[in-house]
């Protein structure tokens, strides 16, 4: 058991190191240069070189890699080439948009999907179930950026109930902040809610077929009582796993939605930084994302093994 733990820690560490090398190398071979990008079409060669020197780009690659890694270990993620401000500050500012957006979308999709999934499972086989299944099937098939386009057209341009995008800042009030995140959250939530509803439904159906339900019913509980007290709780386990997966997708996967609604979030930061060849920002943000996912996987793995005794034997 302890051995397993140690092995996992080592693999975690190795994964991070390999990830950092992969990230660094792939970004170094991108053609294009931040200094040239900043100076644009009127620049002379020598001005570009002077700027590269100022940015610290004339240092050999290996040295830059080591400096970057060393910096990350102490929490210093470097300074953006384009904006000249610390990456960590830029990231935390953007998180104030991306994180609430992801949570908002998650809440929306969960609050819609779970009841719908339960309803469909309870009415399995009837018309209501089939129509729910039909709608969710379509929901999964709709590209979220297309849905966003249509939402903007209807709600922002024609009805003018919402603004077309942008983020006024939390200092103008929570209401206005959330209002500007609403259409984006709905666009993100649609396919997720559809998936979640289907998973809830099938998980619940599976659970209902389990023996312990039959036992509960044999004990005298009505169908609905069995559903609620035993069924839903057990069915939630795979659902929670999916919600966890969705969260990490929402964080980075909202790039396109952030672009459509011009939200100053993490996804758009990466997108812009790639375009501007602001490699330090791209490297550090990807590293942060990878780090969080890898660490969360690690924790979940260990937790599963501790919690579920059945898993322990398969490892040893």
């Amino acid at each position: 058991m302890f051995e397993y733990f140690i092995r996992r820690i080592i693999t975690l560490f190795l994964t991070l190191v390999i990830a950092s090398i992969v990230i660094f190398v792939s970004l170094e071979i991108i053609p294009g240069d931040p200094a040239s990008y900043m100076l644009g079409i009127n620049a002379q060669e020598d001005t570009i070189l002077a700027l590269r020197k100022e940015l610290g780009l004339d240092v050999p690659k290996i040295e830059r890699y080591l400096m970057w890694v060393k910096g990350m270990l102490i929490g210093d993620f470097g300074v953006s080439y384009t904006y000249r401000s610390p990456v960590i500050e830029m990231v935390s500012e953007r998180l104030w948009v991306s994180l609430p957006l992801a949570i908002y979308a998650l809440i929306l999709s969960t609050f819609i999907a779970l009841p719908v999934g339960v309803y469909a499972a309870a009415n399995r086989g009837k018309v209501s179930d089939l129509s729910v299944m039909g709608v969710t099937q379509i929901g999964i098939a709709i590209p979220n950026f297309w849905f966003a386009m249509l939402l903007v057209y209807l709600f922002a341009i024609i009805l003018r109930w919402f603004s077309a995008g942008g983020f006024p800042g939390w200092e103008t009030g929570i209401f206005f902040g959330l209002k500007s995140l609403t259409l984006p959250a709905i666009s993100l939530a649609l396919p997720q809610a559809s998936i979640l509803a289907r998973v809830m439904r099938s998980s619940l159906i599976d659970t209902l077929n389990e023996d312990f339900i039959k036992t509960a019913r044999a004990k005298g509980l009505s169908y609905n009582q069995a559903l609620v007290s035993h069924g839903i709780r057990n069915a939630l386990i795979p659902v929670l796993t999916i919600i966890g997966l969705q969260f990490s997708f929402l964080m980075a996967g909202a790039i396109i939605i952030e672009n459509v609604f011009f939200l100053p979030g993490l996804g758009r930061l990466i997108f812009q930084s790639i375009a501007q060849r602001d490699i330090i920002v791209v490297e550090s943000v990807i590293m942060l994302l990878v780090f969080s996912v890898v660490v969360v996987t690690f924790i979940v793995d260990i937790a599963y093994v501790i919690v579920d005794p059945r898993l322990r034997s398969s490892i040893l």
């Binding site: 990830a19 099937q137 997108f271 990807i286 996987t297």
Partner: protein, 282 residues
């Protein structure tokens, strides 16, 4: 009331109604895409500014776009692009992922197995769209590079699914018997394991196919897929955005084609899963 019995309608063949609906959708789109290799109602590379923004009519069934191009023809070739990209990306996923998964299952618990699992975790840890953008930044935009970007993410999916399915097979008694009798793992994998996991692989392939179509649409929407003058559904949507109030049909039809294709594939996938898994039928 105890609805334990699945009331889904199954035909004698064992396939549900939704499966057939999905098949019809997908085959229609495929049909249009294949025809577009040889013929389209109009040439997609000829621009006729004077003919732009025409609404659907008998001359142009889906109308024309901002350059006067026939949208039906564009959508046919665009579907061809999406399908080709998604298909080859699956190919990449299977060619590399399947062997990895099989070997990992055969050598279960070994260092190689561990390596494959970590490799999968590593790739899954990377945000897919961002990596796709970076890959196209390095290699340049274009359909071919979009295939690579999407294909890379298919590899761990197939490796994991193949490994999981193979492991179930390995625990079967007749396999153990064969192993004890001295048959090599490689032959066992080839002769016994693969045929039995084919079902799961096919279902997963349809899922990855539909995901690939969505991914290709997303990549071309941000400009990283097939380049002009090759039409692509995602790029058509991006182009249509500023003109949505003048010509909404430009935004509607490419989106609908994507939805129909993905929906069809998902219905087929579900139908196949039901067909292969007898538990759900009776």
């Amino acid at each position: 009331m105890s609805p334990i019995i699945n009331k889904r309608k199954y035909f004698h063949s064992g396939f549900s109604l939704s499966f057939w609906v999905g098949l019809v959708f997908v085959l229609s789109i495929f049909f249009l895409a294949i025809i577009s290799f040889f013929w389209t109602p109009y040439d997609v590379t000829s621009l006729q500014i004077s003919n732009r923004f025409k609404t659907p009519s008998f001359t142009h069934y889906l109308g024309t776009d901002h350059f006067g191009r026939d949208i039906l023809s564009m959508v046919m070739v665009g579907a061809q692009t999406s399908i080709a990209v998604a298909l080859v990306a699956i190919g990449i996923g299977i060619i590399f992922g399947l062997p990895l998964g099989m070997i990992a299952a055969a050598k279960r618990g070994s260092f190689f197995d561990d390596l494959v699992m970590r490799f999968n975790d590593l790739i899954f840890a990377f945000p897919a769209l961002i990596i796709a953008i970076i890959i196209t930044a390095i290699l340049g935009a274009g359909a071919f590079n979009a295939i690579i970007a999407i294909g890379i993410f298919n590899i761990p999916v197939f490796a994991r699914v193949a490994r999981g399915a193979a492991l179930t097979q390995w625990s079967k008694e007749y396999i153990l018997a064969a192993k004890v009798a001295g048959k090599g793992s490689f032959l066992i994998s080839l002769e016994h394991i693969i045929p039995n996991i084919l079902n799961i692989l096919i279902v997963q392939a349809t899922i990855q196919f539909s995901l690939g179509i969505l991914a290709e649409a997303a990549l071309s929407y941000v400009g990283l897929g097939a380049q002009p003058p090759i039409p692509s559904l995602g790029r058509m949507l991006a182009d249509s955005q500023t003109m949505i109030s003048i010509a909404p049909h430009m935004a509607i039809f490419p989106g609908m084609v994507i939805v129909i294709t993905v929906l069809g594939l998902n219905l087929i996938g579900d139908g196949l899963r039901d067909y292969f898994d007898p538990k759900l039928r009776s």
